[in-house]
């Protein structure tokens, strides 16, 4: 077995996985999740993650996902608890304050809705921490120090600044939040560091910004008396989505290439065009695959009830048992549609995109790995040694 996959002095990343197995896992997850009213989703997520993690092999050694369904379920319930807190305690309090201060409920509702923003970032930070705590590479665990509150507050601040700047400072938010996350991430005893400056993301953001302004202008013009302008939204919207994907891929590569880990350096060079092609073709295939059962069911329905399809449910119910059978077929087709689309998306989009990302990663300075040790394991979610951030940023 090769210890080191050499690539011009760096450790290359390989990607190896049977997509047939992935499709089988995705299909089983979908079917069993429906049968168990969603409970199997957590088992399925663990299986999917094991597949994705182990396919990715930096330096030839696969990542290992050690999480389990019960923990995932617990995290999901905790997220629901946060949502309930928001709905039954936060929203009423803010609404009341709003009535007392302004005489109206609407400002409170807006602020209450906006309160979802920090909660969203809070939950996302915790989810990432949980994922990384369950990830091993070469026998060592990753980990993230506590910092969800700071993360959520920073996210709010950056959203505020970004809105004030009419979106110009969006890349600054992208970079700042990535740096906050990265600087609190560990591999063993070694801490990641995000280098670089946010301005390097700007050139990639210009197309997003321009197409975004174009869309907004078309929307405003269309709604204020020139409906023809709304047609411009189709090409402009497409361009905006393309530009956004390109920005995401480029910024991910740029920022990852500026990450350091105890003397280790990453080089990540994903190609936006390649990712765009994968998403485009894979997404199209997913839609076509998803439509197949719908077409089949439509043919069945038409052969039994050659009438107006828009009245189908009532008409079929009136037909008696053959009609009910068709209704069952239609419902099954709808479920099959969803399942096939999900399976196709996993195998034709998620996995190829991951593969492309993985294969564009090279690790330099691997000798620094000799200085990294495992963190003392306390059996906890996050080791005690990591509770104090000790982050100089």
């Amino acid at each position: 077995m090769t210890i080191v996959a050499d690539c011009g002095g760096g450790l290359a990343t390989t990607y190896l996985g049977s997509r047939r197995r992935l499709a089988a896992i995705a299909l089983a997850t979908g079917c069993l999740s429906i049968l168990t009213l969603g409970l199997y989703l957590f088992v399925g997520t663990v299986r999917l993650r094991r597949w994705h993690w182990s396919a990715m092999r930096p330096g030839g050694q696969p990542l290992e996902y050690t999480g389990n369904p019960l923990d995932l379920f617990a995290s999901a319930i905790a997220a629901v608890a946060v949502l309930v807190f928001w709905l039954v305690i936060l929203v009423p309090s803010v609404t009341t304050a709003s009535i007392v201060l302004s005489g109206h409920r609407a400002p409170g509702w807006v602020i209450g809705g906006a309160a979802l923003l920090p909660l969203w970032y809070w939950v996302r930070y915790r989810a990432r921490a949980g994922r990384l705590a369950q990830t091993r590479w070469r026998g060592l665990r990753f980990g993230v120090v506590q910092g969800e509150v700071g993360y959520a507050l920073r996210a709010v601040w950056h959203w505020f600044v970004t809105i004030l700047s009419l979106g110009v400072l969006w890349p600054r938010m992208t970079f700042a939040l990535e740096k906050y996350r990265t600087d609190r991430t560990f591999f063993g005893t070694a801490r990641f560091e995000q280098g670089g400056r946010w301005r390097v993301l700007w050139s990639g953001f210009v197309p997003v910004y321009l197409t975004g302004i174009g869309c907004a202008a078309a929307l405003v013009a269309g709604l204020s008396g020139a409906p023809a302008a709304l047609w411009l939204l189709i090409p402009l919207g497409g361009a905006l989505v393309g530009a956004a994907v390109a920005y995401r891929v480029r910024s991910l590569g740029i920022m990852a290439s500026e990450k350091r880990l105890a003397g280790l350096r990453l080089s990540v060079r994903p190609s936006p065009a390649r990712v765009g092609r994968i998403i485009g073709f894979g997404g199209l295939s997913a839609v076509i695959l998803g439509l197949l059962p719908a077409v089949g069911a439509g043919i069945v329905a038409l052969s039994v009830w050659p009438g107006d399809l828009s009245v189908v449910p009532d008409a079929l119910m009136a037909l008696g048992p053959p009609g009910w059978a068709v209704l069952v077929v239609l419902a099954a087709a709808q479920v099959a549609m969803l399942l096939l689309a999900v399976v196709a998306w996993q195998t034709l989009v998620t996995a190829p995109v991951q593969r492309h990302y993985a294969e564009s990663v090279t690790l330099y300075g691997a000798s620094a790995l000799h200085d990294i040790r495992a963190r003392p394991s306390t059996g906890e979610h996050r080791p005690a040694a990591m509770r104090e951030p000790g982050v100089a940023s």
């Binding site: 049977s18 663990v46 182990s54 060592l140």
Partner: protein, 397 residues
Amino acid sequence: MTLRTVISVGLNVAPYQGRADYFDGLTPVPEPVSLSFADESSAKGHDRGQDTHHGTGPALVIARRGGEPLRWPLGSLRALPGRAGADDGLILGVAGGGAARLMLDSADTALIRARAHRLDHRFHPSRWRRATARILGAVLCIGVMIGVLGPAVTGGLARGLPTDVRSALGDQMQDRIRRALDPAGDGVPLCTAPEGMAALRKIAARLGAATAGPGSVPESIRVSVLDHPEIIALSLPGGRVVLFRGVIQAAASAEEVAAVLAHALGHISGADPTRRALGPAGFVGGLGLNLADAAGGRGAPAVVTRVVAARHAPWAEAAARADAVARLAAAGVALESGRGFVDGLARAEDGPAPALRHYLPTTPPPSGTAPGPLLSGSEWAALRATCTGNGPDGSGA
């Protein structure tokens, strides 16, 4: 079983010598090691003192370059589950979640699989106790927030709101509902025929004076009639009651209108409207009204009606009903028993419309002193004609 015997006996064949990468779980640096099997018998003859803490069963021996060989008992060998690669070797560890890993080529897979029979048993520890505790804790949190803390917070806030603020809120909500029900025009009109409104005020005064009941209504009650055919009676913050025209049309007598009013007052005495206006239901309802406004087209009126006619929580409905019965009794309002209350409701051919039944008591109020009919015949006629002045739409009797 047989395989194991064959290998241990056939020593004239070259013994297994495999190679692998070993990760000790302490450093992320691979260590090339050589592998061999040790059986019970050979372990006994071998260096005994070294192996005591590993047991003496058949084991995989991992020979490290600079250090003592490790013995991993075959029974506790585990293969990393769920790997993406189809057949590219094994990653081995020891049951119980230790971090040390052994990465083998696919060439050795069959041999290891033949000897280690529990390879595919559970690898990662399940830690179900901790997870279960987390789940129970979170579920308990959710239950307390929904069942205790949320209602307490909303109830406290509702009680703390000054009366004038509550009244303003009720007026606002009435206007919002009128606009939502008539998105094309400038709001559903209020019915204002003076004789009809006077009759209604007479009923309200008699019920409102009956505050000796279990709940009191602190606000001055303000009743308005909305020129809309739905059978809905709304109670809003600030003691505001909004009867839809449909209620008056569906009612068989002034006493039934009084029963509907009493039900609304029951909600008001429980501060239900303010509580709902502040709470999650108000937030979701407001969102629904705004979405329906934005959507405009088909289905929007149905959404609006649903939001407007949404019931209170079951316990609040029960309390309002009990309060209404006591209030009707105190006011001496005798409901016509022919319309039936308990099970007569569903049977009676000319029974009240289903939407109206919600507001009527399910048990007849105890017959107390009956100081005569609530309204005179002409007053009742005027009440039924309250909306007549509003144009052709409201003229239906």
